[in-house]
Subunit: 515 residues, 2 copies
């Protein structure tokens, strides 16, 4: 058993079941070892951003790390944007990055670069393996570091992959989330009861069914408003679950929603800030009147059991267990007429199958979807957290590998979809039940909104940089080119037909919605 | 005039004429400023790797830096792989990377990350702008740093773009390459005449017409062999130019070619090393018998005038000026029959128009092309230098922007082509005269070769990771989806027809060659 195999065996023993790979020469012993450790499913991405985004989607759904397998510094670089997103989402991921043979590093061969520096920019844990014998232990340490919701990167020189490995007797599975301290529960109870009107701001691990129900109980018992962070990494929704409002993306709207709060208790959410700085405006959307306290850390800051903390808080407040925020699901309303962002959102909300996983990178076209989907069938909602574009299609890939029995919907803006469109090929290769809905507004529309806010009219250079037309992208051709059947919809009725076509048959489909 | 406009005006005054952009919110003042500085052509890429690879192609052809305009850390990250290639090629590039407003950085908003660390991994010069007033000077410093063949990265907080700018009275154009010291010429003359059999290993700036002719004179005068580095960033070829052998990629072949050399004089080339380390094998392919000296530094290590140094050396050796290595161009030989890597290479070599620029990322499918094209019409050859995949289509983009009157051929492997296929859309948007020839072998074949070298047969996991079939990519559909007309060729005769179709009409075309 060589080092590569010992590493993969240790990972398998620690519960790793997937490896999203785009390997090169320096990773070939690990490629060979995948043949000998068949419980780890090897999934090829044709670009590394597909692999890292897929590992993010997989980790969000399973709460266990997948491996990525990346080729040297440039391979890791290509995966960094989606690792940035994963870091912000608090997703466990273990990157395995091949490195030149130790003896070859001093020669500064063409592909040599500073992998450590790149890895450190997104990883909480980085190590370069020093020997083949220690590689299995390195792997377990990486998995342990990642388990709490972190990106860990193990850089593996090719000689360490090839040399003799050492089997680990035990490879412990990662620990679950930690309970919060009693003092945090007491503090939250005091804040909510003494400094009203209060807001319970939920995020991260608070957004499970249990967390949402407990938050609803807390809200009912204290008169506090329950609000969800703007970009939740994962949230259970629909089917009658409580459905709190979401903190808006735009600064003015977010401030208006939080206005007047005397206390804000953060439960798995960070203190809200604006996405970008605006001249003369504060960076936070929290009103000066509000005291802020933390019941459970955001996922990117710690692995605290936010949902459990909410249950303890509800019980501490003697909130009745039956006032849990359940609502009656709304009957589906199928849109008709012209296709707009609103009818597109309504169409997806109405058609999405029971148990769907919705990976949302719809950007400006999807603003209408979140409130509408509150009444949809039960589903899991995965949001674009870190803001780096190109996450949606890969995230859907990983979610589908994680949950092969659930339909996945990639609700995807066209501009950001182009960053990692290669994911569609993996949908086809793996036969994944992913329906991709492209919001074809043929522009970087959110930038057009922002530019309009700066005043003045764009000239030809600026207009050209924010416009995806000339020529229009043809997503039916693009999808077909990667082996995915596709349809185009130009009316809301055609959209509904196309969605029903896609959902009727498990497997990858693309629906291009012309807005 | 705000800081953004002052920066672009200074760049324009220093000779910058192109900006390859994929901007976001933090770059919008620079986007607006592009409207006011129309001598800088703004070119949109739908993925940042397109922008950085295009800047590489542009810089290789003009020897002047283009700008890139990238969105925060994730945008830079997406462009790093091709910046790695540019760094290895010694290409001048100035990256402008937007940053959060200075006051907003402490809030650690979702898109915030350590841009400096990412930039430093590929850049010789990195600065974060500190004020709007200093931005024009920062820009000139970046251009000056880049001019010598370096990647320079200027990180520009959005407040520095928006605040008041200061006009520069003069923005000096970058200096040309530096002449080498007389001692270097003397040393080379001594090495070549006293330690034969000697090798003159050419690379970088030595591979101009003047450099090649001077090297031929030196070779004839001293009996030295002239060899070209394995992956030249840019080389003039064909039309009767001298055509030295190329140092092979594979270790054994490279060693055999250099075997017995008593001296190796490096002229714009680095001391040759193997691309990867191999167990028990030396990392260099230089024989122990050979003394190595440097006449002119490789482009990535300095901006020395390698071609001028060769001319001085030839004159120092009193080499006759008329023995300049001219050869008669070979008449084109059009291939027929089945389409193989050999007939594909022959087809391109035979059909390529006079004055073409050939951007080669053909990887394993293109090994036959280089020797065949020695007899082709005069052309410029751009090679994949740094080994990071996804360079070919973007490099062709930049070369076409740099040289609008020359036809460009992107000779592109299918696997690496998928990394940055978005470049095809820019070919269409800008109406670029780029003919992309896809080598559709539907595998990571070079890895299959490497894996075979490791012994053993790949199992299903390994085979799946090295195979691009299941489903096959359809490059005709992919190209059409981005607005580029395309044809498929399955025989050599169809290839010749398709190439003639593509070359007959200036504009973007794709020819998918099924191997």
């Amino acid at each position: 058993m060589n080092g590569a195999e010992s590493l993969l065996r240790a990972a398998a023993a620690a519960g790793v079941e997937a490896c999203f790979a785009n390997p090169g020469t320096t990773e070939l012993p690990l490629v060979q070892a995948l043949d000998r450790v068949p419980t780890i499913r090897a999934v090829l991405g044709l670009f590394e951003g597909v692999c890292t985004g897929a590992a993010d989607g997989y980790g969000r759904m399973t709460r266990r790390p997948a491996l990525t397998l990346l080729h040297l510094g440039p391979g890791l670089a290509n995966g960094l944007a989606n690792l940035h997103n994963a870091r912000r989402a608090g997703t466990p991921i273990v990157n395995l990055v091949g490195e030149q043979a130790t003896s070859h590093l001093p020669f500064d061969a063409p592909l040599t670069s500073d992998i450590q520096a790149l890895a450190a920019s997104v990883s909480s844990w980085v190590r370069t393996a020093a020997s083949s014998e220690a590689l299995s232990a390195d792997g377990v340490n990486a998995i342990t570091a990642a388990a709490a919701g972190r990106v860990a990167t193990l850089i593996v020189p090719s000689d360490c992959q090839r040399g003799p490995g050492r089997a680990l007797i035990t490879a412990p599975c990662p620990p679950p989330a930690e309970p919060v301290a009693d003092e945090a529960v007491e503090k939250a109870a005091s804040m909510l009861t003494s400094r009203g009107p209060a807001v319970l701001l939920l995020g991260g691990r608070a957004l499970t069914e249990a967390g949402l129900r407990a938050a609803a109980r807390v809200g009912a018992a204290t008169g506090s408003r329950v609000i969800v962070e703007t970009f939740p990494a994962r949230m259970e929704r629909g089917g009658g679950l409580p459905s709190p409002q979401r903190l808006p993306y735009y600064m003015e709207q977010a401030r208006a929603m939080l206005s007047g709060a005397g206390a804000i208790v953060l439960v798995g959410a960070r203190k809200p800030v604006t996405f970008f700085g605006h001249p003369g405006q504060p960076g936070s959307t929290v009103p000066e009147t509000a005291a802020v306290s933390v019941l459970a850390a955001a996922s990117q800051d710690g692995a605290e059991d936010a949902a459990g903390a909410l249950e303890r808080l509800a019980n501490r407040l003697r909130a009745p267990a039956d006032i849990d925020g359940s609502v009656a699901p709304a009957p589906p309303v199928f849109p008709s007429g012209s296709l707009t962002p609103e009818t597109l959102a309504a169409g997806i909300a109405a058609c999405q199958p029971e148990g769907a996983i919705v990976a949302d990178e719809s950007v400006s076209s999807g603003f209408a979807y979140f409130p509408l989907a509150a009444g949809s069938a039960r589903h899991t909602y995965l949001c674009h957290v870190g803001g780096a574009l190109g996450q949606g299609l890969p995230m859907a890939t990983g979610a589908a590998i994680a949950c092969p029995d659930r339909p996945v919907i990639a609700f995807q803006a066209d501009g950001s979809g182009m960053y990692t469109l290669q994911a569609l090929w993996t949908h086809a290769r793996e036969g994944l039940d992913v329906t991709t809905v492209i919001c074809a507004n043929r522009s970087y529309q959110i930038l057009q909104f922002e530019l309009a806010g700066l005043g003045g009219r764009p000239g030809s250079a600026a207009a050209g940089l924010l416009d995806l037309g000339r020529p229009n992208l043809d997503w039916v051709s693009l999808a077909n080119g990667m082996g995915v059947p596709a349809r185009r919809a130009v009316t809301a009725d055609e959209l509904v037909d196309a969605l029903e076509w896609a959902f009727a048959d498990p497997g990858p489909h693309v629906v291009e919605a012309i807005l």
